[in-house]
């Protein structure tokens, strides 16, 4: 009977970084047996043919493999993983520290707290552990995992490169903010700190006299945060910010290519795919030194101290966008940085390591 290899995610959705990484691993894993992908939360209709609900997952046999993408805690999922009779491969994408949500969303915070606990619970049960970054690998080592491999398996920063420019969107953005705009991309969650990006946009226009707009892109994952973000924008005079929410890949590529700068103000990132995609599309990248952002961005973007407030960050952005040579250098460095990532090589190396535990 054919060996079954199943990948399990907490949730799957279009444009989601972890979902994309898992799906890119399918063809590699298919070399070892029949590969399928499952999600605890009901996958969207558009993905039903490639991602199945967890209740349809096989119970597994000793020769089967479970690749578990750990990013959030769910006791049902922990039970499923612990009952799995075959090999267990943990792909750790990091779990956001619970303190970002403790006072805002108790239920979500509980899931995060369980995720951290699950990392500890699965340490002895795991046959092979991978982390997307050295920052995340440290969590695993502290929890007692042995032989942790740091590899951003399935990350493809160049996935947007070949998409056509959305000329209609360009026209709209040009008329909305003729002097250009900064783009801030990430799920609308409190720790992603789009609010800080908004404050930076305010400082840029009000005190640094840069007539720039700010475009915020990302799936709404926390309604309270979105409400507060809108109130924050409304409370600031002289500001030009638009929240586009979730956009298509083509729109995202267009935003990266036409923006004067990409900004990531996140307090926590287990890896950081948007800055890499932005670099690949030719955007100058500015991030704060939090989580894995420094090691992900490397010298491909400007990494600012995490202690800096909106005043200094805005001044740094103004320095970058006001100097064509600097912008050009930053863009060149970004392009050089993304060339160090090779999606096919990362998947092949991953599969080779999985093969060794069979």
């Amino acid at each position: 009977m054919t060996r079954q290899i199943i990948q399990v995610l907490a949730g799957a959705s279009e444009g989601d970084a972890i979902t994309n990484m898992a799906l890119r691993m399918v063809s590699g894993l298919s070399r070892l047996g029949s590969a399928r992908t499952f999600s605890v939360h009901e996958p969207p209709e558009s993905m039903r043919t490639i991602v199945e609900p967890l209740e349809d997952a096989p119970l597994g046999r000793r020769e089967d493999i479970l690749v578990y993408h750990l990013s959030y805690g769910n006791p049902d999922l922990t039970r499923f993983v612990l009952r799995w009779p075959g090999r267990l491969v943990v792909m750790y994408h990091n779990v956001t520290p619970v303190e970002h949500f403790l006072d805002l969303d108790e239920q979500f915070a509980m899931g995060l707290a369980w995720g951290r606990e699950e990392v500890r619970i699965l340490a002895d049960r795991t046959d092979l552990a991978f982390a997307c970054s050295e920052f995340s690998a440290r969590d695993l080592r502290i929890a007692g995992y042995r032989n942790v491999t740091t590899e951003a398996v399935g990350v493809d920063p160049r996935r947007l490169d070949d998409l056509d420019l959305d000329t209609e969107l360009v026209r709209k953005l040009d008329s909305w903010s003729p002097e250009g705009y900064v783009v801030s991309v990430g799920q609308l969650l409190p720790h992603k700190r789009h609010d800080l990006s908004v404050s930076v946009a305010h400082a840029l226009r009000t005190y640094l006299r840069r007539d720039l707009g700010m475009v915020i892109v990302g799936r709404t994952r926390h309604e309270g945060y979105l409400e507060a973000l809108v109130s924050h924008i409304d409370s600031l005079p002289d500001i030009r910010v638009t929240i586009l929410g979730l956009v298509s890949d083509r729109e995202l590529a267009t935003l990266y290519r036409t923006s004067v700068c990409y900004l990531n103000m996140s307090d926590h990132e287990g890896f950081g795919i948007p800055p890499l995609e932005a670099m690949s599309c030719g955007a100058a990248v500015v991030v704060r030194d939090n989580g894995a952002l420094l090691e992900t961005v490397g010298d491909g973007g400007l990494v600012l101290p995490n202690s800096w407030g909106p005043d200094r960050i805005a001044a740094a952005v103004a320095e970058v966008v006001g100097d064509d040579d600097l912008l050009g250098e930053l863009r060149r460095r970004g392009q050089r940085r993304v060339r160090t990532f090779d999606v096919d090589r990362s998947v092949s190396q991953f599969v080779a390591q999985v093969e060794q535990i069979l």
Partner: protein, 168 residues
């Protein structure tokens, strides 16, 4: 890896730090504090709304349950004038009671709808931006279509004048 080793990035950081000194003192702290306050208030409002909503749902549930248990599905009353009259009184009283209960349920439902509407208003506020953008986009398109149509009409007019085929 450290940016301090990179002269380009170190230079940008130095220049940014000195440029930021020209911004008003306490500017960053004020903005950060303001957003924290907004988040707290928003969270508190949502909690109050959620609690109100849950309380109203609970009241509605209790009323619906009491209506179900209090209303007989069928009644088999034996014949006899006295019994019929007594039964009539009981039924009448029961109908009044039911009517009052329905009235209360309607009030509770109304409150529930009002609370939901208030929540929707909050949601609408943040959606307004996106809707405005979208509407503007649609208006742009329609304007363009109208322009095309009028241009087509004038071309058609021009053509019909030229070939003299216009009939009345």
């Amino acid at each position: 890896m450290n940016h301090d080793d990179d002269p380009l990035y170190a230079r940008i950081q130095d220049r940014a730090a000195s440029a930021a000194e020209n911004l008003p003192a306490g500017f960053s702290e004020e903005l950060e504090g303001s957003f924290t306050q907004i988040m707290r208030e928003s969270h508190r409002e949502r909690r109050v709304h959620d609690e109100e909503l849950l309380a109203l749902i609970e009241v509605t549930k209790i009323k619906l349950n009491s209506q179900r248990s209090g209303a007989p599905i069928e009644s088999r009353l034996p014949g006899g004038r006295l019994l019929h009259r007594a039964a009539k009184r009981v039924v009448a009283r029961h109908i009044v009671h039911l009517s009052n209960q329905i009235q209360e349920i309607l009030v509770a439902q109304e409150q529930l709808i009002e609370t939901l509407a208030a929540r929707l208003m909050i949601m609408e506020k943040r959606e307004a931006r996106l809707i405005t953008d979208l509407t503007q986009h649609v208006i742009d398109r329609l304007t363009m279509l109208e322009r095309v149509e009028s241009e087509l009409a004038s071309i058609r007019d021009g053509m019909s004048t030229t070939d003299g085929s216009t009939t009345k």
